[in-house]
Symmetry: D2
Subunit: 357 residues, 4 copies
């Protein structure tokens, strides 16, 4: 078969591993031929096609980014966009298309499938918040990057008796914040799923200091929010930071606001680190390379089993396929298990022990 591949949306460690795995298994086991479309759906619309073979994918496993590049171009939002895509795919003799991307990319994939084209999806979200799959590749890498940053920041916090606020990715779900916060030994972890009371956060930090720990690490997801019950100061603060195209805060709205409010309330010197783009680049971890490889193998197998209009997904330790619709319909937020881990390991606020309250 002649198979097309594209990568859409934000870049993510592991994209190259998916491409490589699909091409290798396709060449070694199925005698497929491959074509890459550059820059996501833009490449399909504008017929930017490049040949993909074993030599092109050689050596790309450890590399971050995507050799096919990516974009946010959405054919469904252009007049005749989807028709143009189908025309390009036909012109290139493509029998099936593997679309690797997040919600937007997979929504287009689903629509093309609705128009009768053979499409298979591979989920990609560094935030790990896609419904229908246990883990997405890139997430473990992001968590490790954040953890290493927290390890570094720890020494500064300790040396200076400081509160350090580390702002991480996670607009709608706190997966990165909760995993990296636990891994990095954070003292407070704030996630979008649970609006927080700024006074309670300040109390937790004060309690820590009152028992002789003169520094604290706060990990905050960019989408974390003050609870309505927060005191005047907190709720009054504007939360609209500068956002990038994926809705990720660029200037670290919440991190900086939080730092100011905490310094005001506790009197402890407080600093912010906004990790930003370094969370999504670079070489993938072993976990992500294996997982992305499995997604790539799963996708080419789906092509040959004719499982179109579906997406590869990880359930337990198996790669299965689920309808694209199911995946793109809703977000997956932090589950009760991880909430319990966080509340188990974090210091429990105990009013009686509080000195300064």
């Amino acid at each position: 078969m002649k198979v097309g591949i594209l990568t859409g949306g934000g870049d993510c460690p592991g994209l190259n591993a998916v491409i490589r795995a699909a091409v290798r298994k396709g060449c070694f086991h199925y005698e497929d031929e491959f074509v890459g479309f550059l820059e996501g759906w833009r490449g399909v619309m504008e017929d930017k096609a490049v040949p993909l073979d074993l030599s092109v994918v050689a050596g790309i496993l450890p590399r971050g980014g995507t050799i096919l590049r990516t974009s946010r171009t959405n054919p469904a939002k252009k007049p005749n966009g989807l028709e143009q895509c189908i025309a390009t795919l036909k012109k290139n003799g493509i029998d099936a298309l593997i679309a690797i991307g997040g919600d937007d990319t997979l929504t287009v994939a689903s629509k093309l499938y609705g128009k009768g084209f053979n499409v298979v999806g591979v989920p990609k979200t560094i935030d790990n918040d896609l419904a229908g799959t246990d883990y997405t590749f890139g997430f473990d890498t992001a968590v490790n990057v954040v953890m290493e940053a927290i390890d570094r920041v720890h020494t500064t916090a300790e040396a200076h008796n400081r509160v350090m606020v580390v702002e991480v990715m996670g607009r709608d779900a706190g997966w990165i914040a909760i995993h990296s916060g636990i891994a990095g030994g954070a003292d407070v972890i704030l996630i979008p799923e649970k609006p927080f009371d700024i006074d309670e956060v300040a109390d937790t930090i004060r309690q820590r200091h009152s028992r002789g720990r003169y520094f604290s690490i706060v990990v905050v997801a960019e989408g974390a929010k003050f609870s309505p019950s927060s005191s005047g100061d907190g709720s009054a603060v504007s939360m609209d930071g500068d956002k990038d195209e994926f809705g990720h805060a660029r200037l670290g709205g919440i991190g900086n606001i939080l730092a100011k409010e905490l310094e005001k309330r506790t009197g402890f010197e407080t600093r912010t680190v906004v990790l930003g783009h370094i969370q999504r680049g670079g070489t993938p971890t072993a976990f992500d390379r294996v997982l992305a490889t499995r997604y790539g193998l799963g996708a080419i197998d789906m092509v040959h089993r004719g499982e179109f209009g579906r997406m590869a997904a990880l359930r337990g330790n198996k790669i299965i396929s689920i309808p694209l619709q199911e995946a793109i319909s809703k977000n997956r937020t932090v589950d009760q298990e991880m909430m319990d881990v966080a509340s188990g390991i974090l210091e429990k606020l105990n009013d009686e022990k509080l000195v300064n309250k």
Copy 2:
């Protein structure tokens, strides 16, 4: 409650995270008191007890090794060893003991439980081969260490047109080899579960060269074996390398033997790297820190739920408890899913394409 903790067997990244999590939750949520026994069961036999509190476990999360140190002392093999243990535990007023270790450590734990003492087990094996649990902490760190080594070795292999054999841990199970081999883009992966035909390995490498890839990476678990059907040379070679106390080959028996046999058969320059002890030391990955934290929380919860004679285990994304007996009864070898991933991503041997055969 007054809770004892010990770590036994080989060291493993994440041990400190388990200790820290149990102590933190015990202190913050249950008002427990903790005692650490030094050097595994030796510390219980010889009453080497140290107090464990929040300040002792502060800052240990990112550290490899174990603050309680470890040993292979086995009280069950000493006269009155178990009785001595119980005496020490009673003398220290211990209500329950958390034993973190592998088969040997947990077997003693099970026997102590048989004698009526309240014991909870936490599984530890860097090889990930313990029955009853999906993942053990330390494994992900080992896989990443090996993967980084393969990444480094890759550049040498490429620059010199060489075959590089990388020998990794795995006496009875090939988990580390198969995960790190896939993550590192190895061309051949040899595991204990599947005895290999040396001529087939040589053919695979020759085939790669014949299609223009002038180097190859072979990952071999220390416990991998030649198949009986292997040609005379291979099967004649003695496989008894120098072993350390955990049965891990120290001088890299299989790696060096394999390299010589491959060089003889293919004519390609072949070199070996034996990773050895660097696989089990150092700071844990985020995955292992979170997993170890979960095991520690699970263990202290088990203590308070009175689930003794049992071991914490990971199933899917939940920590459950299973009888110690179940865990120590058998090894968990590489499953069909990972076998399929390996055979999917690796070059398929195709006789017709072989030039030199």
Copy 3:
């Protein structure tokens, strides 16, 4: 002798290595006794003294931060501050004091020496901009942290056809920017020593794109400035960002301003990463651990040679001592050698080749 040690100013990888080296050589070779003063000069003013011996410094070599903690307290700015210091030092029976820090810390050291106390200085500045010494510890670590961040950001830039602006430390000198920029393969490097013309920067990026490289990496030191000759937009922009106590920009004034101006001028999507505090924390590189060890050994040797009022300094491959006055009198900015390296490796602007100008 009884020797005091303190660390002042911003934290820096290698501080613990200095402390450890001085204590080890003092104990093994000179039979010294040591006292640590906590939180820089504050600890001397307020008599926060802790004993320092071989067991206290065991295991601290790989750790970032400083076990003695640090502060910016300046006794010279408090009434009777210096007298109070001398009183504490005498009370503790201190024969000589090793002060590890930057300009401020060493200025106090120099004043104490002026009042007759035996003080030896060890220079500390992550920015590598101290006159009188070739390299300061911490700098190599910071450069490697930035380089790794650039490596990560590279993949994002490539995948998205983007311009990425990476803002790094360097208020008065561009050492970190120029070293990490060259190591990371940046396309433009902007340092405080050379005010830049925003239009020229935009031209360089356009030229790169016109020869088919669709992404660019710009490294900018926080202290870099628009040249007066820059076009209206640039020079009109306020450069006053939010500063931390060391004058380092916190919200990344220049990085974000630059990104906006470049996007406006080139039309290419541009993003900013502000690395901030992760540049100064974490485990030191081998270079910094060796260098810091040498400074520590040098300092204790100076104490025993009676070279007071002086500072250890690296010249070529020797540790020498120079008067404290000499070191704190002026900044060391990027030298001609490194300027030449940068202009040698960076793309030379060639008007004729420019398509869009």
Copy 4:
């Protein structure tokens, strides 16, 4: 001009950075044209030439190994080998050749220059032992790889009360051993320059244990030797390990022998780690990337200044040129400065304090 480039001898992190720097400055500043010869001198003898331009060198800076590959082929040892080289160079219209390599590669370069060809050398030795230059690229990377391995091994040593012997590269000079040993906090460092007395090493370890440190780290260069004064056991042991083509021990002769002798003498459990090939592969550190870049720039400048028969060298912070003869005539061994650092930081043997002697 038309410039040829080749890389010879063992691979080394930074080779690609040299190639890239020469090509970039040549293209941007001199309008040169470049040809790469594959696999060192073999490529010149057999006319394996590939075009080198800006697009070929794009993205290679962070990669270990060498895009031109390498070999040990020595034309001076083949009949008419040098003549054949000159014939190829003329056929390809090469005006000048940049040869990057160690002693062997540069000796050929020198001979070709003797025959009238325009050759410029760039020194390459991971061991840092080339006369005439302060630092060679690749060395800093190797030292950091070893240091990270020691950091990992540390936790195992501590957890198990063990002596760990880490064998590192360094046949004739102990630069890697002494730098990584100091950076890793080793307790004993053994280098080729100073034959060691095995009983003294055992005493040092015993002394450490007698003051309560129950583990030790020994770093040994592969070329380290027992002193003739060593007791019978030591000197009787055969030191001939298995060597690779560069004379580096493959099976870790000295490391394993040392471990056995130490275990015998001290009674402490002792283990060996032989780091081998991972020391020379992988992405270069910032220091090596900058240094390699400087060598590349220096080489192309030398070509245009007509400084042939000479080699680029680092002196202080300047790249200068020296006659090839001077460089290849002798080895550079560990200097007094570093010897002093080691003896300053290492535990001083004090007989009176020894308990078990």
